[in-house]
Amino acid sequence: MAGRRRGFERSDKRFRLFQYEILIVFAILIVVVTVFIDFAILKRTGRAMKEKVSDLIAANSRQLELNINSYLERMETVPTLLFSDETYYLYDETDERMDEYDKVKNEETISNRIVDIGLMENYVDFGIVYSDDHKLGWISHGTQDLFVNDESMYDAFSAYIVNSKKEDGWCYGINDNSDRIYYIKRLNPNAILVSSIYTIELSSVFVYPEQLDEMTVRLINEDNEIIFSSDSSEIGNILPDDIYNSIKDGVAEGNMSSGIITDDYLINTNSCYNGWRVVCSVPTKIILEENESLKSFTIGVSSIMALLFLLVGQLVIMRIAKPMDGMVSSLQNKAEIDRLSGVMNKVAFQEMVESELKKETPDEFGVFIMIDMDNFKQINDRLGHMYGDQVIIRMGKLLRKLHNNQTIIGRIGGDEFALYTGCNDISKEEIESVVTEEMEQVMSAFAEEYEYEREQCDLSISAGVYIKETEDSDFEDFYKKADKALYTSKKNGKACYTFFGKEDKDEA
């Protein structure tokens, strides 16, 4: 019975393990499939979103370009008002033919004009510098302080007149100054107009939608110096390399406008009419922030679904699979169990022992015992076959009663039984005495149980014991060796047990 239960428990455990494996595989499958589908959808929407935002940035960048163009044009228009009268723009302070009085009167007239037209914008500087560095109008201390050690302000600013037609130019970063931009216009061969505005003023020009509040907007010059940035800490620095590298090809090809989508940024750049560029950039991760939160949401939901599946699966197993377990176990029992003795039949016994042997390590011991009833034929002949069956039934019960779950018990012939016990907690020296003790118990228990049958028909048992050695692990081999020992017991007059010895070994 113990052997049968043990067999059932093992196969039941296997079956349950299999059920759990199936459940977990399905749960993982749910997570993987859900996440895969959602991620695929999100990737697609992410791409679409990037393109849409890129379009938005492009439109915005274009608008900022128009704004800055319009602003720069306005700043250029005011100085042109000095060309309304020759007195203003043709006056040459270096002309030695003029007397002091004429100079004073002319300069007074020009200064008044500068005051009048310079009021139109927030100019920091708005004045005329002559070739001898004489100044008229507003040339701020800040600008004057940029030119030390007799450096000529006139020469320095004249170098920035690059537009040969209009004879003007914009400049930034004069002597490392980064707080203002200058517009220079030639009035006559010996005079230039110098006007400037603070770069901070550009914040009113660079107004963009609040929806793009993560966008960094920059105005850069031809040398990639940042004239203005919505991130004020960048002003005066060089455009960051990662952004410059993304736009440099477009700039080199002379594109007026280009949009670039990289792994890190969505960038758009537009060229202003004076050669400066508007560069708008948004970190990609900010655009896809919502997608990222959707990803974690997907993972969360699919994990909950998987958990739910596991719980439901467990419930199904409890409600449906358990009764099936019973049915399967019952069928299995029928196939494996000898119906008369209640222990395993020969096939099941052999399978179970072989499976046990596979699990055992070579240095583990095993004891294989074969028991045969002596004179059983006389029971059938004298007491009848029905009685003979009862003897077998009682023998099965007796063996199950004497052995624990660790022993595999089988009926391998009409009145022949076999037992196998794996031993890993006993030393080689001890094992023979332990087995001897056990066999003595079996012999005496049998004698007690079958006292009547012994008196009537001389019923006894003979046994052959084989203790597995390290080098062998074959059931057939065990069987033969135990059978040989059993034969020796029979030969020695029955009702005894014999260990398979060295001499048997040689014989075997």
Partner: protein, 432 residues
Amino acid sequence: MKRSVIRILLIVSIFVLMGVLIYRLLDINMKITDDKANSVRKEKTLIRLSWWGNDDRHKYTMEGVDYFQSQNPDINVAYKYGVWNGYEKRTKVWMESHNEADVMQINYAWLNEYSEDGEGFYDLNELADYIDLDNFTEEEKAYGTKNGKLNALPIAMNTHVFYYNQDLLDEYGLSLPETWDDLFAMGKVLGKDDKYVLGMNKKQMFVLLVAYYEQKYNKQMFDEDGKFAATKDELKELIEFYKSMIDEHVLCPIDLFDKNKYMSGEIAGTMCWISDTNVYCDALADTGVNVSRCKYPILPGAKRSGWYIKPATMWAISAGTEHPEEAAMLLNYLLNDEHMVTLQQTEKGVPVSKAAIAVLNEEGLSETNEYKAIQDMNEYQDELHLIVPNIENESLIHHFKSEADEFIFDKVSSEEAADSIYNGVREVLSEQ
């Protein structure tokens, strides 16, 4: 039976728990989306601010305004600024066209010009909930009061001070001048090397001449009512004195004056407002030159100093502002806030506001040249007169200088020039 009931209850609670979890996840996600969808743009209150000044003032004022906006996110401040030269004309255009800023830096003289009856600017008394008026004494508030209405609050008090390049004076063996004759004596020495004793702009030159006039004739050039008191003969003598100052190298011709000439030692001294100490004293001292501060020159026996004191500049609110409360918040920030005071330091002069003084005292205000000049001013404050607005009248000064130039360059006689000035000044004043 009992076991199956427990089992059913367990299963139901698991399902409810799962449902709640999924709902929470969905809810959080929906909220994020909702929040974004609901982020509508709030209209900010636009306050316009205007001021004049130099680079430093522009920069720190813009920085201060940025901070104010960060502290008051519902207020957006737009600004207009420029240099003093021409700013008066700009203000006139704004005031006459009713396009003035909500909060304006104004000159003391403009109170008379634009608010004779006290209606030209907002009455700040009505905004006492937003402006800490306790930082100002009654006397200080009186400077900005017209017809019982507090039109403006003074930023600082100001008078003129003379700074000299002491190293240059030592080089020529000269000492600081006390009288006008001392100045001419210095001009003789420095003129030999084509250097000048003093250099200044047009407005300061006029103040200098007014002082000389009032010391000499013991009367105000413009009385309290703004009336022009000088006679043609007096004007003739005045422009002759003016020409002699130029000819004898006491005063650099106004059109040739350049701060760099003073910085480089071509001009020994200058006269400026105390509030410009950093421009003319500290800047020169920073180059390693010893700079001396000097009191105004006097005419021996003069009974009146002819020198004036005034609120340096003032803050006012437009009478027509649509947002008086927000404008008052900005005005209070500009005058009394620790952050703004720290940025401003004494650039506009030693502040009047008690709160501002307390902040600056902690930062060692008494060590500054400007503070020392103010201390000097306090010592002889009784000799100073409260400024008469016409002394700073741009059109009048322009007219005076222009006509005087005709005489200086020998185009007309001193009588003719004095005559033109006399008529021109009366004409300018009659147009007010």
